[in-house]
C-alpha cells in the first residue's frame, strides 16, 4: 500500500553552517514550493516540522531534544520524511527576502533559484549568520547583527530603512516571532503589507490540518495547511508576536 507513511531517507552529508545550525543532506529529492515544509521523523525521539532548505536537505537549529538528536546524526543513518506540506510562497518579479536566524532556511531556495532577489540576513552575532556566502553569489545580500559584529548593528528590521520598498513586487519574511512582528509593523507603516508574505511556525503534530495544534488566533487557520505562509494583511490582527500555543495547547508568550 502506498500512502502517507514517512519516506525513509539516508543521510548523505552533514554540513555545519554555524555553531548552532547544521544542514542535513539526504539521498532523495522532494519537489516542493519554497516555503513548504516536511515532517522529519528523528527515529526514537520525535517528529518535527522543518523547511526544505534544498530539495534534499533540512537546515536545523539545535534547540531541544529532537533537533539535538538530528544534528548529531551521521551519514548513512536514516530519518523519515512526511510531506511536503503547506502552501509555500507565491513568488513573482523582484523580491525582497527578510530572514532572521534559522528562518533563512525556507527562504534559501528563493535566493538561489530566482533571478532578482535582495536578501536581508539577520542574526544575533556574526558567527550565527548562515548561508551568507552561498547567497552572495546569487543575490544582493545585506547583513544585520544584534551585537554589531557584522553588517548593520541592530535588528534586521532596521535594514529596511535604507530600502526602497516600492521596487519590490514581493516581500517574503521568515524568522522568530518578535522579528516577524517588528517587520510586519514596519511594512504596515510603509503601506506595503499587501505584497508581504510571512512564513509562520507553530507547534505541529500532524502537518495535515487535522489535529488543530498549530491553529492561530483569531481566525483559527492551520499554520500547517492554510500556511505556513500567510499574507501580512492577514497576520496584522493575529496572535503573531503576542503568544503562541505549546504542545498542550497552553498559551505561551
Amino acid at each position: 500500500m502506498s500512502d502517507g507513511l514517512p519516506v525513509p531517507v539516508t543521510i548523505t552529508r552533514v554540513v555545519q553552517e554555524s555553531p548552532g545550525v547544521t544542514t542535513i543532506f539526504f539521498d532523495q529529492n522532494f519537489s516542493s514550493n519554497p516555503g513548504q515544509f516536511v515532517m522529519v521523523w528523528v527515529v526514537g525521539t520525535d517528529e518535527i516540522p522543518m523547511a526544505l532548505s534544498y530539495p534534499n536537505a533540512v537546515t536545523v537549529q539545535r534547540v531541544g531534544e529532537a533537533t539535538s538528536a538530528l544534528v548529531t546524526m551521521k551519514p548513512g543513518e536514516k530519518i523519515g520524511i512526511r510531506g511536503p506540506f503547506g502552501n509555500g510562497f507565491t513568488i513573482r518579479g523582484k523580491i525582497l527576502a527578510i530572514a532572521g536566524g534559522v528562518g533563512t532556511a525556507p527562504l534559501l531556495r528563493i535566493g538561489l533559484e530566482y533571478p532578482d532577489v535582495t536578501f536581508l540576513l539577520g542574526a544575533r552575532t556574526a558567527s550565527e549568520l548562515i548561508f551568507y556566502s552561498v547567497l552572495s553569489s546569487t543575490c544582493d545580500v545585506r547583513i544585520a547583527t544584534d551585537d554589531g559584529s557584522a553588517g548593520y548593528h541592530g535588528y534586521v528590521a532596521g535594514l529596511l530603512d535604507e530600502i526602497d520598498l516600492d521596487e519590490y513586487e514581493n516581500i517574503v519574511v521568515c524568522g522568530p516571532d518578535p522579528m516577524m512582528r517588528s517587520v510586519l509593523s514596519v511594512l504596515e507603516n510603509r503601506d506595503v503589507l499587501e505584497k508581504s508574505q510571512f512564513s509562520m511556525h507553530r507547534y505541529m503534530k500532524c502537518g495535515v490540518g487535522l489535529c488543530g495544534s498549530c491553529c492561530i488566533d483569531p481566525n483559527g487557520l492551520c499554520v500547517c495547511k492554510d500556511g505556513p505562509v500567510f499574507s501580512g494583511e492577514m497576520l496584522l490582527r493575529s496572535e503573531l508576536g503576542k503568544y503562541h500555543r505549546n504542545a498542550a495547547g497552553l498559551k505561551e508568550k
Partner: protein, 295 residues
C-alpha cells in the same frame, strides 16, 4: 439520493444547527478553530478531550495519513483547566466539551470546570492509545456506568463515546445508558499499527494508534446498528463519514446525528460541502430514516 430538510435539530439535548458535528480531537484545541468549523457549516462541535492535568501528548510521529484513512496516537494533549478560559468566546454556541479522566472522580472534577460553559459533555472512554485513560476505562462496563453517573451530577446532557475495541460494544452501550447517558457516540478509533519497513519500527511514536477515516466506516455502521438494537437512547454515528450518502447510511443504521473528523484532511470545508449535498428545501425529516434499516 435521499435529502433531508434543514430543520433545527436537538441532538440528544444539544440544540444543533444541523446533524453534522465536528468529532473530538480534530481542530478542537482553540476556540478560534472551533468557531471556524461552526462558521463553515458544522451543526455543533466537540472540543479536544480535556483531562485533569495538562498533557503534552506522545512523541511523534503522531499522525499518518493512509490511502483510505488516518492513524493517530496524539496521546491526549490538552491544556486542562486553562481550556475553560479558551471557551469563553463560545458561550452560546453549540459546543460539546469532551472530557477524560482516570476514574469517575476525575471525570466529575473536569466536568465541573465546564459546567457553566458546555452545552453538553462527551465522555471519552475510548481513546485506544493513552495508558490509564480512554479505552482502558471504556472496556469496563461498571467503570463506564460510574463515570457517566459522576458527570451526570452536573445536570447537563452527557454523551458517552465508545470504543469499538471490545468483544461486545452493546454491553458498554447499555452501561452508559444505565448510568444516565443522554446519547451514545460510536465509534472512537480502531486500535491499529503500521510499520515503516525502511526504518524497521512502528511509524507512530507511541507504536500503537487508532485508525479512523474511510477504512473504519463499515465497522462504525455495524456498531451503530448493534447499539440501536440494544439501547433506547439516541446514538451519534462517527467513523469514516466523508460524504452526504455516508450520513444517510449512518442514520439508517440508527444514528440521529453524526460526527465527522478525519474527512477534514481531504476537504477542510467538508461540513459546508456535505451540508450542501445533504439538505434540500423539499428534503424529508431525518426522523423518517433514523433506524429504518432495521428490517
Amino acid at each position: 439520493m435521499i435529502r433531508l430538510s434543514r430543520e433545527s435539530v436537538h441532538l440528544a439535548g444539544v440544540p444543533a444547527r444541523n446533524h453534522l458535528v465536528l468529532a473530538a480531537g480534530v481542530l478542537g484545541t482553540c476556540a478560534s478553530s472551533l468557531s471556524r468549523v461552526l462558521h463553515q457549516g458544522a451543526g455543533a462541535v466537540v472540543t479536544k478531550s480535556i483531562g485533569p492535568e495538562p498533557r503534552y501528548g506522545h512523541a511523534g510521529p503522531c499522525v499518518v495519513v493512509l490511502e483510505d484513512g488516518v492513524m493517530n496516537a496524539m496521546g491526549l494533549p490538552n491544556p486542562s483547566r486553562d481550556f475553560v478560559e479558551e471557551l469563553s468566546t463560545l458561550v452560546n454556541e453549540p459546543v460539546i466539551v469532551s472530557i477524560f479522566g482516570g476514574n469517575p472522580e476525575e471525570f466529575h472534577e473536569v466536568a465541573g470546570w465546564f459546567a457553566e460553559k458546555a452545552q453538553a459533555f462527551e465522555l471519552n472512554v475510548s481513546c485506544p492509545h493513552a495508558a490509564g485513560f480512554g479505552a482502558q476505562i471504556g472496556t469496563n462496563p461498571d467503570v463506564v456506568k460510574a463515570c457517566t453517573e459522576a458527570v451526570k451530577e452536573w445536570k447537563k446532557p452527557v454523551w458517552v463515546k465508545l470504543t469499538p475495541n471490545v468483544t461486545d460494544i452493546t454491553v458498554i452501550g447499555k452501561a452508559a445508558e444505565e448510568g444516565g447517558a443522554d446519547a451514545i457516540v460510536a465509534i472512537n478509533t480502531v486500535r491499529a499499527m503500521r510499520i515503516s519497513t525502511g526504518l524497521r519500527r512502528p511509524v507512530l511514536g507511541n507504536k500503537f494508534g487508532g485508525l479512523s477515516g474511510k477504512a473504519v466506516f463499515p465497522i462504525a455502521v455495524r456498531c451503530v446498528y448493534e447499539l440501536y438494537e440494544a439501547c433506547s437512547i439516541p446514538i451519534i454515528g462517527c467513523g469514516g463519514i466523508s460524504c452526504a450518502e455516508d450520513v444517510i447510511e449512518m442514520m439508517m443504521a440508527g444514528a440521529e446525528g453524526v460526527e465527522i473528523g478525519s474527512a477534514v484532511v481531504q476537504d477542510p470545508e467538508i461540513f459546508r460541502h456535505i451540508g450542501e449535498e445533504l439538505y434540500a428545501p423539499d428534503g424529508i425529516s431525518a426522523r423518517e430514516i433514523v433506524g429504518c434499516a432495521h428490517v
